[in-house]
Symmetry: C2
Subunit: 411 residues, 2 copies
């Protein structure tokens, strides 16, 4: 007998029929003798509907009241799923975030979990009940309703698994696991049986949006065994997300190819090559609430240097406007930018101990005549910025070059 | 400066525009220096939508989970109204029933209020905030969400007014007050400036569905000054519901003519005139969960008697079926019934001290050739059952006979 936390996202509970399907799946686990805690999101579309209502009333809705509003979405789902479970003859009980007492700070719309009172849930599990918990929401110490921000239901699932010392936290989504890359681009893309937390972090932040990145960090911190599974297929194993230490067998050098076409690059040319220049450029950008991803600064030659960074395309114009205001002050020769770029990354914990991954990557791209505009590396990934027209081609040839369609051999 | 509790029903908050209108009205009271607590229902249609969802999952939805589900309706409204108030520059804060702590018993879907923690609301009022409370809902001592049943938002308003010792509880509806009778039947019907609690109780239970009867009882018990007003008209005074003792001036003998066409009558003829017979007939009816309204038993003549009672038309067939099972046991000669009836009642606390109201009523009906099938009286009302075809005529001639179109003179 195991204690399993299962999390179902908005699409998985998007209709009465889907909710009944989830109940059937939960019933199967219960029949096998497991204790099951189910975390659910709002039915798909519901959160957006509520936010649209709020915007009709207030252009930028009050954060406290917005959380009161949108938290009703998951509350509807927990009630309906509990009814569906009871209809199958199971004992079930729903909990809002406040009822569990998922204690958070008071940062409305993006609260952080501070602690979980798990005693009542444990008592219900011992009494043979399936416990159904509203994801994405909590309560601050003064009793205000809070939400964890978009995707927070994954974090709720992981946090509950940590608090209950669950044997596994299963995240059900509309994909059946984590792939070596997007199968829509590379049909030979292969589902990974395991992936390490670090790789998952790199893949998630690079655009493999299977899991919310915060939940992965959380799982890593509390050593929660996390598995990504499809809620639309039966019997799949999904992808298990592991700690590197636990899984020395079958470790591939490269786990996957991530990519992103949501970014734009901005280059500030001919800035004086002196201390503090990076701050002078990025300070105003950060104050303007523009998130920066890659940052490249090369060594200067003639006492000046070029400074390049990438931002989300939606924030590109805002970033340019900010720079236009501070350009003279910085003493830059020119500010230019390009939205027609993409980022392609090779990710894998194995590359730490394998030289030559970077040169293989660059040669593969060069062989196809693809020019690399920017390069950035970390311990377990190498990212390049390319003209966006090369995205699919680059992903395909890199997937092939690193033989990702084949099951890895032990190294 | 007064402390006012205002309650707005589902139609009054049925759209974003209506919610903004309510915010405007609240703002006016706030500008006048009053402290305002607003109690709101779910947006019209929302509760029914949620119940329909539940029924798609479970034929008779689990009561605990149904309360978790439908309580989201008011939670949406409190958030939206609080946003609308803030958009007008007011300070505002929403509370669910659980956040106030409206403590109830655990009778899900029809819970009773046991107590209210009013300290936090009072602190918010002192700090200049408008407090917006979800009607219809509470929490039991174990933290389960409960609802008070349909119309429970009125009760929430009155209970809060009682706990806060509010100067007035204003119930905003789609009518501008309590009328001497339905203006659709008698165009001369007049809005009552005041009506006593007892009259209101008789009028409410007889079909003047302006206020939920439980809230009126509650207001009477805790001496809450209750006023019914229109949320669609500006500047109306509505109808003040008073304690008889408080309002000796301008007391009319008769306050209004109530009526009801939802009932059916059932007569059990020729039952033995012996002790216990009423129980033998009504016991099985009550066990079958059929509510009985009027009950008439005349003195017997030849050792048998006739026993007549009225039930809701929806429950008429069920009542007949029950009687068919126990008929032989009772020793009745015949069971007959009629659904084509109506009940017309003359209501007024003044009739206590005025003889001749009953005879005036009966003569008025006789003059028009209207046959009276049943009569039942209480301290402050006289009800008659008539053929339903006479309903409008009877209401009209009685309204005229008692001069209800004229403002009353002091007595």
């Amino acid at each position: 007998m195991a204690l399993i936390v299962q999390k179902y996202g908005g699409t998985s509970v998007g209709s009465v029929e889907r909710i009944k399907d989830v109940a059937q799946r939960v019933a199967k686990f219960k029949m096998l003798g497991h204790q099951v805690v189910v975390v659910v999101s709002a039915m798909s579309g519901e959160t957006n509907r509520l936010i649209a209502l709020a915007r009709e009333i207030q252009q930028s809705p009050d954060p406290r009241e917005l959380d009161v509003l949108v938290s009703t979405g998951e509350q509807v789902t927990i009630a309906l799923l509990s009814m569906a479970l009871k209809d199958l003859g199971l004992r079930a009980k729903s909990y809002t975030g406040a009822q569990v007492r998922i204690l958070t700070d008071d940062a409305f719309t993006k609260a952080r979990i501070l602690g979980i009172d798990e005693e009542r849930i444990r008592a219900d599990l011992e009494a043979g009940r399936v416990v159904v918990v509203a994801g994405f929401q909590g309560v601050d110490e003064r009793g205000n309703i809070t939400t964890l921000g978009r995707g927070g239901s994954d974090t709720t699932g992981v946090a509950l698994a940590a608090a209950l010392h669950a044997d596994e936290c299963q995240i059900y989504t509309d994909v059946d696991g984590v792939y070596t890359t997007d199968p829509r681009i590379v049909p030979e893309a292969r589902r990974l049986k395991t992936v390490t937390f670090e790789e998952m972090l790199e893949m998630a932040s690079l655009g493999s949006k299977v899991l919310q990145i915060r939940s992965v960090e959380f799982a890593g911190k509390y050593k929660v065994k996390l598995r990504v599974l499809s809620s639309f297929e039966e019997g799949g194993e999904g992808t298990l997300i592991t700690f590197e230490e636990d899984d020395k067998m079958e470790q591939a050098v490269i786990s996957g190819i991530a990519f992103n076409r949501d970014e734009a690059k901005i280059t500030v040319q001919g800035v004086p090559d002196r201390p503090g220049i990076a701050y002078q450029i990025l300070g105003p950008i950060a104050e303007g609430n523009v998130d920066v991803d890659m940052i490249i600064q090369n060594v200067g030659a003639d006492g000046t240097t070029d400074f390049t960074f990438t931002v989300h395309r939606n924030e590109y114009q805002r970033a340019l406007d900010i720079l236009a205001r501070v350009e003279a002050q910085i003493g830059a020769r020119k500010v230019s930018g390009d939205t027609r770029i993409c980022k392609v990354s090779v990710v894998g914990v194995g590359m730490r101990s394998h030289v030559g991954i970077a040169s293989s990557m660059f040669r593969t791209l060069a062989d196809e005549g693809i020019n690399i505009q920017m390069i950035s590396t970390s311990e377990i990934k190498i990212s390049v910025v390319l003209d966006e027209k090369y995205l699919e081609l680059a992903v395909r040839i890199l997937h092939k070059a690193f033989k990702l369609e084949e099951e890895p051999q032990a190294v």
